[in-house]
């Protein structure tokens, strides 16, 4: 195992977060089994107090889990030089197959934990906290995921040996081999570009529609559109956005752009995409929540903020993507 301060911080933080979540989940289980909003008994009062503890613990733990994704990528970038054949985080991830799984779980956790935190905040603003049951069910589902994240991270980091020969992004994202990565890299540029800008356009139009109308349908559509945009964008990053960023017709790596060589442009790019899609998902999901009056008022109040955040994040993302395509000297489509 490599004793790197980042790895230590990740493992320490994730174990503490998991411990906090375990305790919160146990409390949540007890609250769930005895929760009775109609009652005004002493026991119910105690339970209501406990909910504050649960949400505080969970807020902290989930906030860390969300940040840990960033620290994880940061650490991967930092230690890639230890491995033969690694040029960027791809190499570090390849050094041990579990790496990709950890990354996947981190991405899933980013969305689910952020959704949980936002709905928890909504719930706490209301008087009657109607979301207690769905929230705690969600918590019980997410806790094992965080545990799995910790376990996989542990086995990933302990399994890293500096002598391992890994493969570089260049060999993973090349055309011609039959992996998902190379299929993404091999997507024809013109249709992918069209799909990507179409998806982004639909997303923005739906956002504007949601801002101006209260129709639930638009929000459901926006939910679908953000999911679509997320996956289309990831494919687009591998397929053509990376090419424009690196100004190189064969370089498809989605991680190199996080390096200092490219001015860390990957961080705002991915930040914009993730935040934009997250806030695009939220209004649609909020429509699925139980329709109590108090909750309805809160959703009305906060929804506008979500939509605006989604709008700005996606616009930033699109500007970073479109910048080199429109202004750069690199012309891919002429080949």
């Amino acid at each position: 195992m490599l004793l790197n301060p980042g790895i230590l911080a990740l493992l320490l933080g994730c174990s503490l977060a998991f411990a906090m979540l375990l305790y919160a989940a146990w409390l949540g289980l007890r609250i769930l089994s005895r929760w009775d909003p109609q009652s005004s008994s002493e026991a119910q009062l105690q339970l209501e107090r406990r909910t504050y503890l649960v949400s505080t613990l969970t807020n902290y733990a989930f906030s860390f889990e969300i940040l840990s994704g960033l620290l994880f990528i940061f650490t991967l970038e930092d230690i890639h030089s230890l491995f033969i054949g690694a040029m960027c985080a791809t190499g570090t991830l390849n050094a041990n197959q579990i790496g990709w799984l950890v990354l996947l779980i981190k991405i899933v956790l980013f969305f689910t934990a952020a959704i949980w935190v936002h709905f928890n905040r909504l719930d706490q603003r209301t008087e009657d906290t109607p979301l207690v049951r769905p929230k705690y069910l969600g918590l019980l589902l997410l806790t094992p995921l965080v545990g799995l994240d910790l376990l996989l991270q542990y086995s990933y980091f302990t399994g890293l040996q500096p002598e391992i020969i890994t493969s570089c992004c260049g060999s993973l994202f090349t055309l011609g081999s039959d992996s998902v990565a190379s299929e993404l890299a091999g997507l024809p540029v013109e249709p992918t570009m069209l799909t990507f800008f179409l998806a982004a356009g639909i997303f923005l139009i739906l956002l504007v529609l949601c801002l101006s109308s209260k129709l639930a349908l638009f929000r459901y559509l926006l939910f679908v559109a953000s999911l679509g945009l997320f996956f289309v964008s990831l494919a687009a990053i591998v397929s053509f956005i990376s090419l424009y960023i690196y100004q190189m017709p064969t370089h498809h790596c989605p991680f190199d752009m996080l390096q200092a060589n490219y001015g860390f442009i990957g961080y705002p790019l991915y930040g914009g995409l993730f935040i934009g899609c997250l806030y695009g998902l939220l209004p649609g999901l909020a429509q699925l929540l139980p329709k109590t009056l108090s909750l309805h008022i809160e959703i009305e109040k906060t929804e506008r903020r979500w939509l605006l955040r989604a709008f700005f994040a996606i616009v930033i993302f699109l500007l970073i993507v479109a910048g080199p395509i429109l202004l750069g000297p690199f012309i891919l489509l002429s080949y």
Binding site: P5, L8, A9, G13, L16, T56, F64, L71, T75
Partner: protein, 384 residues
């Protein structure tokens, strides 16, 4: 003014009311952060220094072992090694130690052949018989300058005088602090070394990938030798500083635990006055979540200010005051210890990791106590 800012204002005011308690926590927290950060900064800087400077070391050093001891190596070995593919120049090195029983220091005597001027040297390298060049550490300890003479007793118990013709600048102290350079022929006379042998052989290898294979081949052809690769040298220094920082971190981890207990204790054992304060806040209409936010602001204020202060202190301690407090731990029994003039090797990533290592435990051990305070029942407090 938004409601959040009001709560922050209130949090700061209530912290100011309990100056002593919060000052104690911040002081201990700052110290803890400063210790951890100092360890990280110092070992990182030293490792960085060693890794950068020793890159110039010989690609391969071949020693001869006799009965488990480092022994003189015949010069024919050099010719044999030079025939292997991938080997460049093979240079026999001549060096030894000279123990000073008064200062309890082993000086390193090194023979030089090449009189071309090395960097960071005032004066010139010894060229003829009775001349020498010294490291800055010796010159400072004994207060000598160029033109003075070094008095040594050789292996035949003769007292010899060597005129000092060169002094290394303090910028190279980490390498040359205790070094005494003599012309190679003179050093051989001094130690009574036979001309056909050398202390060891420095082997130039063009391709660093090939070093380990060459080491194996040399060991196979000349079984009484011990080849040491440049990577092994660098790795030795990596482990040395890892080991030292490991010891310090072990000691430190108990300090971190102690601090966590302190933070937990301080957060749990709140005064009756503090309890009444929360009771009153709730009586006048504050929600539990508002009180939790208040506690969050308090925790944030404490950890942010301590973290920033601690990191700044650590930085100043290591890079402006030459690691005055931690230095002795690195120093051990050394008498002729080079003055640290360390170069920062810190990046934002280390700062983030440091924040993760110190802020997360603090938050984790204050969250339950602060909830307990926040759910205080107003009327139970008022009545007591």
């Amino acid at each position: 003014m938004s409601a959040r800012l009001k709560i922050l204002e209130h949090a700061l005011a209530s912290m100011a009311r309990r100056k002593q308690k919060n000052f104690a926590i911040i002081a201990v927290y700052t110290l803890t952060v400063a210790t951890l950060a100092s360890i990280l900064f110092l070992t990182q800087a030293l490792r960085n220094e060693a890794a950068n400077v020793l890159l110039g070391a010989p690609d391969l050093v071949v020693q001869r072992l006799l009965a488990g001891h480092h022994d003189l190596i015949p010069k024919q070995y050099a010719e044999q090694i030079a025939k292997l593919p991938g080997v460049g120049k093979v240079t026999p090195r001549v060096w030894g130690y000279y123990y000073d029983s008064l200062k309890k220091v082993n000086f390193t005597l090194l023979g030089v052949n090449d009189a071309s001027e090395p960097p960071l040297l005032a004066g010139h390298l010894p060229t003829s018989g009775r001349q020498c060049a010294l490291g800055r550490g010796i010159a400072d300890t004994y207060g000598v300058e160029i033109g003075d003479s070094l008095v040594l007793v050789d292996s035949k118990n003769r007292t010899l005088l060597y005129e000092i013709t060169g002094l290394f600048s303090h910028q190279s102290s980490l390498l040359t602090n205790d070094l005494i350079l003599l012309p190679e022929a003179e050093l051989r006379r001094f130690f009574a070394l036979p001309d056909s042998q050398a202390s060891d052989l420095a082997v130039q290898v063009y391709n660093e990938q090939e070093v380990s294979t060459l080491a194996k081949k040399i060991k196979h052809q000349l079984p009484d030798t011990r080849p040491i690769g440049k990577m092994e040298i660098l790795h030795t220094y990596d482990t040395v500083f890892n080991w030292r920082s490991g010891i310090m971190l072990t000691i430190f981890s108990s300090a971190l635990i102690a601090f966590c207990i302190l933070a937990w204790d301080k957060a749990t054992g709140i005064s009756a006055e503090e309890k009444r304060e929360i009771g009153i806040l709730k009586a006048i209409g504050w929600e539990t979540s508002d009180v939790l936010l208040l506690k969050f602001w308090e925790g944030l204020a404490v950890s942010l200010s301590s973290f920033l202060l601690g990191t700044i202190i650590a930085y100043l301690h290591i890079f402006f005051f030459g690691a005055g407090v931690l230095g002795p731990v690195i120093q051990g029994w050394s008498v002729l210890f080079p003055k640290f003039d360390l170069t920062p090797a810190i990046d934002l990533y280390q700062i983030f990791a440091l924040a993760g290592l110190t802020i997360i435990p603090y938050i984790a051990c204050t969250v339950i106590p602060s909830w307990k305070n926040a759910v205080t029942d107003p009327d139970s407090v008022m009545r007591s």
